[in-house]
């Protein structure tokens, strides 16, 4: 699973790199990539870490469940902006935030687990 993700990442980098070469903006793209590391939220011990995450518009956030118990990642709004399937141990969920705002979310199985993503 991780291998597939990293190959996908490489492909994206290659495509972007090619695009950059064509338009002469290679260095710009490379800088942007350095500034946008993969943004991760870890689920550990029935909590989201970090519980509050601030990211720029357009960021993709990936949650990884590192507990022995399944969890979900579900926004608290209605209708739901994002809603993961049940994540078993080591499973991941990603969502790209294209609009600024504050996005509170929780685990719908263990609702005491809450977090929020602030998109600026």
């Amino acid at each position: 699973m991780r291998r597939i993700v990293s190959i996908a990442g490489l492909t994206a980098a290659l495509v972007l790199g090619t695009f950059g070469l064509c338009t002469g903006q290679n260095s710009h793209v490379a800088n942007a990539q350095e500034k946008m590391p993969s943004i991760e939220v870890k689920i550990d011990n029935f909590s989201f870490g970090p519980a509050t995450l601030t990211v720029p518009v357009g960021s993709t956030v990936t949650w990884t469940n590192r507990d022995d118990i399944p969890h979900t990642v579900v926004s608290t709004d209605d209708p739901k902006t994002f809603k993961s399937k049940v994540l078993d141990t080591d499973e991941k969920f990603s969502f790209t935030f294209s609009k600024a705002g504050t996005y509170p979310y929780f685990c719908s199985i263990h609702p005491k687990m809450t977090g929020k993503v602030v998109v600026q």
Partner: protein, 321 residues
């Protein structure tokens, strides 16, 4: 454990327990030094009857067994063989001196709501002497499909998300669902529709009718910090106030605990799969790993006996050791 030396001070009933020892025992249960000691068996009786209970009382007019949290599909180090321990639980049930008339399963039948997980549990429970099993869902049984599969399998004669009631030998049983539509930051929820149904369901009953309520998440506030409670349980209990004997059986917390409040005895059952830490005694309520040789001593079943005319039901937890 060496703390047993002061457990039995006065054994009035020659049953191996006195009130003070029992209360201390329950305090341990509440604080988590696990009461599954003394050959791995904890005899927990309803507190209101503790002074009068005797061995004879344990053979009553109605006997049934509660099992909980089998988490079929779980395969982490805390118990890589949850099918094996469920089978041991069934053996334990089949070995009870008086065959129970039916079983209650208080939820988390499966770990991930997968069809084959439910199938495996159904298959294992077929070898139990009691043929009827009454289920309520745990949060692990209603993943991804809002409980549709659970209802199709176990909720044919139920209302709403799976609640129902039935009568056995004059005892009124109520199965409640408190694992659906959970709100961010909240606890278990019964919800308005179910509460209304409960009010109507018990209205025609006489106050002397013994009531057994069973649901997955505790209907009393065990440890809200870990979500071990139900937001609107007070409303449900208000509808049960008029009854002289109410026994509330829950699961979810993977350890035995008991509390008495007026005429209501609250009891949580052990899991058949893996133990969880005592409230606040770990960073999280996740599965607790114990040495393999101790695992069965922290898993268990609950045997419940009702003697007609008695005030309360006798609840006996037995470990799988």
């Amino acid at each position: 454990m060496t703390e047993m030396k002061d457990e039995i001070l006065v054994d009035h009933n020659h049953d191996g327990l006195d009130r003070r020892g029992f209360l201390k025992c329950m305090a341990w249960a509440g604080t988590g030094a696990l009461c599954v000691m003394r050959g791995g068996v904890l005899n927990s009786y309803s507190m209101s009857r503790i002074s009068e209970i005797g061995a004879l009382d344990m053979t009553g007019d109605l006997s049934f067994v509660q099992i909980s949290d089998s988490h079929m599909g779980f395969n982490k180090p805390a118990n890589p063989d949850v099918a094996g321990t469920l089978k041991v639980a069934v053996d334990k049930i089949n070995g009870l001196s008086k065959a129970p008339e039916f079983m209650l399963h208080t939820g988390d039948i499966s770990h991930l709501s997968k069809p084959d997980e439910f199938d495996t549990v159904d298959q294992i429970l077929k070898s139990a002497t009691p043929k009827d099993v009454f289920y309520v869902p745990g949060e692990h049984d209603v993943l991804n499909d809002d409980g549709k599969q659970f209802l199709e399998r176990y909720g044919k004669n139920s209302k709403g998300a799976g609640w129902y009631s039935f009568d056995k030998k004059g005892v009124h049983f109520v199965g409640l669902v408190n694992v659906m539509n959970l709100k961010a930051g909240g606890l278990g929820t019964l919800g308005h529709d179910q509460l209304e149904w409960l009010e109507d369901d018990v209205k025609p009953l006489t106050p002397s009718t013994p009531i057994v309520v069973f649901a997955h998440i505790p209907l009393w506030s065990v440890y809200p910090e870990w979500g071990w409670g139900t937001d609107d349980s007070a409303q449900a209990l208000a509808y049960l106030k008029k009854f002289g004997s109410v026994t509330v059986l829950n699961g979810h917390i993977h350890q035995t605990m008991q509390k008495v409040e007026g005429n209501v005895t609250f009891h949580t059952a052990a899991s058949t799969a893996f133990p969880q830490p005592a409230p606040g005694k770990a960073d999280s309520p996740g599965p607790m790993k114990v040495p393999a040789e101790q695992l069965k001593s922290v898993l268990g079943i609950t045997d419940v006996n009702y003697v007609q005319g008695s005030h309360a039901l006798a609840v006996v937890d037995s470990s799988l050791a």
